[in-house]
Every structure is written in structure tokens, then in C-alpha cells.
């Protein structure tokens, strides 16, 4: 600590490594060493990371069990797609669309959160699950109100405006924002709500406020992820926002370790590539086994490492200076 030469702090080191890694990936992609298929997979991994960071904020840090994350993801996707389709495709409408996705998802989360966040653990899970199913039904019937949304046939005609670079920048931004949030006084308040609501209330923390805050912000993350997804895939189907999708995100968060940003990032990338990797690695005749293997991985993982990959710890560079010194 008191060396004569000032060493580079881990935060800066991480930033440099990130930039270099991004440059390397981008070079490989533009020279087609990584083909468009894997570029898309990389994009999906980034989107999963953003969405999962949001759920980690909701569940991992604030302790509010949500099984309806995909609904907010869908709200963000449809809202942004409506914006870019009605205003014409350009970078500016895309940015506006992403903002709209985040704001509308956040607004819905706020409105639905105010009443249902009074519920605890499993009851909250069931209420959010119900909300997710209701949203799926609404997406399915959306064409009755807004024909552009396409209902159960899916929404088409969305411009392919995002690519790996966009997703990467947003994933990086999401990570930095979340990291700065959870190590702030607000973050400590959120964690105190998770640890013991009554005790938190007793020391003067407005639990309703922080629960709503964590839930709304986390769902805004889902909205951003959905907006990115809509413009990466250029096609939206209500099927992609159903209950199983919420489970997917929850899985990533739990496998990575609740309350760990590092874990979520690693798990999001690993999970997306594992699913796609099995698609390539397995011969065509046993392709169907892919869907059998992955739940098995899940169960075995949970039995042998129930705390997830990182069990609440972080990479050094994600920790604030004070926490780093202690360890």
C-alpha cells in the first residue's frame, strides 16, 4: 500500500482489460473469424447479462423474489420496437426506443410493485408469476388494440439496429451502474431489506421505498435488455416472453450466485454459450438431448454448489476500495 511507486488500481486495470478484450473481439468479428452466428450468440449473452443483472438487483440484493422478469423484458422489447417502427429506423430513434423501453418497464414495475411488494417471498413469487402470465396473454392479444404488435403471430418489420457493440456498451454501463449502486448507502439499504425487513425498519430504513426502488430499477434493466433484443433479433413473439424465459434469467442469477455481479456476468455468458455450444457439439441425431442435459446440469449444480458459482463474492476489481483493503 505504501510502496514508492503508485500502482495501477484494479479498477483501471479492469477497464483497460475490458477495452482490449472488446477491441480483440470486434477485430475478430469484423474479420469474420467469429462468424455472424456466434456474433449473434455473443449479443444474446450480453442481453442476458443486462437482464440478469436487473433480476439480481431485485432478488439478489433487495431480496424480492420475482418470477415475472420476462414480462418486463417483453414490455421493453415491444415498447422500443413500437418507437422505432413508428418513427423510422435510425440511431436516434433506437436510443429513444431503448429509453422508452426502460421507462415504460420501470413505470409498470412501479405501479404493479406498489401493491404487490407488500407480499413476502413465495407469495410475491406467485403474484409476479401471475403478472407474467397476464402480460403474456396481453401480448398474445395485443393485435386487437395495436395491430402493429402482431399478437400471437409475432411482431415483424423491426429494423436490425443493434449489434454486438451496442450490447457490449450497454452491458458494461449496466455493470458499472449496478456496482456503484450496490456499494453506496442506497445499496446497503437494499441489502438490509433483504437480510431482515423488520430490523431494517427498526433502524429507520423506509423499506417500502427501497423495495419499490430496487424492483423498479431491476425491471428497467429488463426493459433495456428487451429493447436491445428486439433490435438484434428483429422479430418479437409473445412465446419468447413466457414463464420459462423468467426461469431462464432466474437460473443465471442463482447459478452465478445471488448478490454477486461477477457471478451474474460469468453465468450469463457461460449459460448462453453452453446452450449454443451443445447445439454445435452434439451430433444431429441426439440434438433433442440438449434440452435434457441442461436441466440435469442445473440440478447437479444446485445439489453440489447451492450458493452458486460466486456465492456472494466479487472479482477484486468490482469491489470498492474499502472492501478491498479488508480482504
Amino acid at each position: 500500500m505504501t510502496g514508492t511507486r503508485r500502482r495501477l488500481s484494479p479498477g483501471w486495470l479492469a477497464l483497460i482489460v475490458t477495452v482490449l478484450a472488446y477491441a480483440a473481439l470486434q477485430t475478430l468479428m469484423s474479420t469474420k473469424v467469429i462468424n455472424p452466428y456466434w456474433q449473434q450468440v455473443a449479443g444474446l449473452a450480453g442481453i442476458m447479462a443486462v437482464s440478469a443483472l436487473g433480476l439480481n438487483l431485485v432478488y439478489g440484493y433487495t431480496g424480492q423474489f420475482s418470477l415475472g422478469h420476462a414480462a418486463f423484458y417483453g414490455i421493453g422489447a415491444y415498447a422500443s420496437a413500437l418507437v422505432t417502427r413508428s418513427l423510422g429506423p435510425s440511431i436516434w430513434t433506437l436510443l429513444l426506443g431503448i429509453a422508452a423501453g426502460a421507462v415504460i418497464a420501470g413505470l409498470v414495475a412501479f405501479l404493479i410493485g406498489l401493491p404487490i411488494l407488500r407480499l413476502r417471498s413465495d407469495y410475491l413469487a406467485i403474484a409476479t408469476l401471475g403478472f407474467g402470465i397476464i402480460m403474456k396473454v396481453l401480448f398474445d392479444n395485443s393485435d386487437a388494440v395495436i395491430p402493429m404488435m402482431g399478437g400471437s403471430a409475432g411482431m415483424t418489420g423491426i429494423a436490425r439496429l443493434t449489434n454486438f457493440a451496442w450490447v457490449f456498451v450497454f452491458a458494461l454501463g449496466a455493470t458499472v451502474v449496478l456496482r456503484n449502486l450496490v456499494f453506496s448507502s442506497v445499496g446497503r439499504a437494499l441489502v438490509s431489506v433483504r437480510e431482515d425487513e423488520l430490523a431494517a425498519e427498526a433502524v429507520g430504513i423506509n423499506t417500502t421505498k427501497y423495495k419499490t426502488l430496487g424492483f423498479t430499477l431491476g425491471c428497467m434493466y429488463a426493459g433495456v435488455a428487451g429493447a436491445l433484443y428486439a433490435h438484434l433479433y428483429a422479430y418479437l413473439n409473445p412465446f419468447n416472453f413466457d414463464f420459462l424465459k423468467s426461469i431462464d434469467v432466474l437460473l443465471v442469477v442463482v447459478l452465478g450466485g445471488l448478490g454477486s455481479i461477477s457471478g451474474t456476468l460469468v453465468a450469463a455468458v457461460a449459460w448462453t454459450f453452453l446452450l449454443e455450444g451443445l447445439r454445435v457439439a452434439l451430433p444431429a441425431s441426439i440434438q433433442d438431448w440438449r434440452m435434457v442435459i441442461y436441466p440435469l446440469v442445473m440440478v447437479v449444480f444446485m445439489i453440489f454448489r447451492p450458493g452458486g458459482l460466486f456465492s456472494g463474492t466479487e472479482f477484486g476489481f468490482l469491489k470498492p476500495r474499502s472492501a478491498r483493503r479488508r480482504t
Binding site: D122, G130, F131, V137, N141, L250, P295, M298, I303
Partner: protein
């Protein structure tokens, strides 16, 4: 009016099938506080066992129900031993994720071609459908059988839980696991038995479901499973009569929405009712309002 009564009968029929599934959810939740997501898939396996028993082995209907019940009971107990028992002392979320994993595993495994295969199958009807006309309301013999079998099973379960030694042990474990263990109850055995009984009921429910709505496929358990769980929460989770009541409400609400509003909205309405009930009475209709303890 007769249309209303007709829809009520249809709703009750669906509700009774949900009730058979919901009982397993509620009993398991009452004892180990786990949302057993795989329960809906056990129900699906029950439907298939009933199908094989009747279509391939040419067994009579009552025997087919027994085959499905026994098969599902074994399946439920195996799942409990292999997947949930190692996690008894782990964080609850791990057990929940495991339950989802087991559920996805059963769905995708049975979806493989050499198991059940993804194609829907027509459930056989062992006898011709007869319709009785009662004052403008037509009741089929299928409805009568669904009503009869489910009521019989529910009465049997109520008797078992209230009047046998094992049933008493089950109630004790659901109240306080540690104290029950001190009183000499083999808690692990009781948990396994609970899974067995719950799964057997779901198996019977599966056969009745296939019988009443004659098409089965490997993913058929997801929605009825979720709705049955919702029904259990609606009635007050962990409470056996609550599960029956909640399931009947769920079935009737769903049928009425299809009949009077729109069939595409029935899931939304069913879950909307759930959210409202949870907000007004979070512990369910028959649940006792609990107080938070420090």
C-alpha cells in the same frame, strides 16, 4: 339459465381435476415449504400411464387409474429422494431451482421420441359417451365419473390425514418439524410418504384429465400445474380443504371467462383473481392471517 348451469358443471369438472393436482402441491408445501414445480409433470406422466394402461395393455378404466396412481407415487418418491432430499438444509432457492430443473428434465426427457414423443395422442374412451338430460342441462357419463372419482379420492385423503396415525404424523410435521422429530416421528419417512400420496393424486388427476379432455402431450402439465398451484395459494397453502375450494373456484372462473368473455383471456382472468386475492388476503381464503415475529 341452463347455459349458466351447464358452464357451472363444466367449471366444476375442471375444478375437480385441478383439485387433485392442488392437493399434492399444498401437502408438499405444508411440510417442506417447497413449490414442487415438477408436480405438474407428474400429472402428465399419470395421464400417459393411464393412456398406456388402456390403449396398449387393454386394462379396464379403474385399473388404469390405479396403475397411474402407483406409478406416479413411485415417481414422486424417487424425485424427492434423488433431487430434494440432498437439499433439505440448503437455502430454499436452491431447492426451488432444483424443482424447476426436475420439471424441465421430465418435460424434455418425455418429449424424446423413444419415450413419449412430442406428438399429441388421443386418449382412449373405454365406453361410449352417454349424455343425460337434466332440466336443460346435459351431463355426460364422463362428467359423472370425473366427479365421482375425485370426490372419492378427496374423501379418502381427508380420512387418511385426519384419522390415521401416519396422517396425524403428517399434520404434526407440517406444524413443527423439529418437535415432531423429538416426539419420535421419522420426518424423512413422512416427507417421502407425503410426496407419494400427492403424486398419486396427481396421477389420478392426469387420467381423469385425459379422459375428460381427450388429448395428451408431454407439455400438457405446465399450465394445469401452475393453475393448481395458484388454486392451492388461493385457498390457503398448506390447508387441504383450501386447496379443494381454491381449485373449484379456479376451474369455475376459468370456464366462465371462456364462456362469457373470451377464451383467449381465461388465463389472464384466472391469474388476475389470484393477484387480487393475494392483495386482499395474502394467506388465502381459508388461511389464518399470520403475524410477523421478530
Amino acid at each position: 339459465m341452463s347455459y349458466f348451469l351447464q358452464q357451472l358443471i363444466n367449471g366444476l369438472q375442471l375444478g375437480f381435476v385441478y383439485a387433485l393436482i392442488a392437493l399434492g402441491y399444498t401437502m408438499v408445501y405444508g411440510i417442506v415449504k417447497l413449490i414442487n414445480f415438477a408436480h405438474g409433470d407428474v400429472f402428465m406422466v399419470g395421464a400417459y400411464l393411464g393412456f398406456f394402461a388402456m390403449a396398449n395393455w387393454a386394462l379396464p378404466f379403474p385399473v388404469a387409474i390405479l396403475v397411474a396412481m402407483v406409478g406416479c407415487a413411485v415417481l414422486g418418491m424417487v424425485i424427492e429422494r434423488l433431487a430434494y432430499k440432498p437439499l433439505r438444509n440448503a437455502p430454499r432457492i436452491s431447492a426451488l431451482i432444483t424443482a424447476m430443473g426436475v420439471s424441465l428434465f421430465i418435460e424434455n426427457f418425455t418429449n424424446l421420441n423413444f419415450v413419449f414423443g412430442p406428438a399429441p395422442r388421443a386418449f382412449p374412451r373405454p365406453f361410449a359417451v352417454r349424455t343425460f338430460n337434466l332440466g336443460g342441462v346435459s351431463i355426460t357419463n364422463i362428467t359423472v365419473i370425473v366427479f365421482g372419482v375425485s370426490i372419492l379420492l378427496m374423501v379418502a385423503l381427508t380420512w387418511f390425514v385426519n384419522s390415521t396415525k401416519t396422517g396425524r404424523a403428517m399434520r404434526a410435521v407440517s406444524m413443527d418439524k423439529d418437535t415432531s422429530r423429538l416426539m419420535g416421528i421419522d420426518v424423512d419417512r413422512i416427507i417421502t410418504i407425503t410426496f407419494g400420496i400427492g403424486s398419486a393424486l396427481a396421477g389420478a388427476g392426469g387420467v381423469l384429465f385425459g379422459f375428460a379432455y381427450p388429448q395428451i402431450q408431454p407439455l400438457m402439465g405446465i399450465m394445469p400445474g401452475l393453475k393448481a398451484f395458484v388454486a392451492a395459494v388461493l385457498g390457503g397453502i398448506g390447508i387441504i380443504p383450501g386447496a379443494m375450494l381454491g381449485a373449484v373456484i379456479m376451474g369455475v372462473v376459468e370456464t366462465f371467462t371462456s364462456a362469457y368473455v373470451s377464451s383467449t383471456l381465461r388465463d389472464a382472468v384466472a391469474f388476475g383473481v389470484l393477484i387480487i386475492v393475494l392483495l386482499v388476503r395474502p394467506t388465502g381464503i381459508l388461511g389464518r392471517p399470520g403475524r410477523e415475529k421478530v
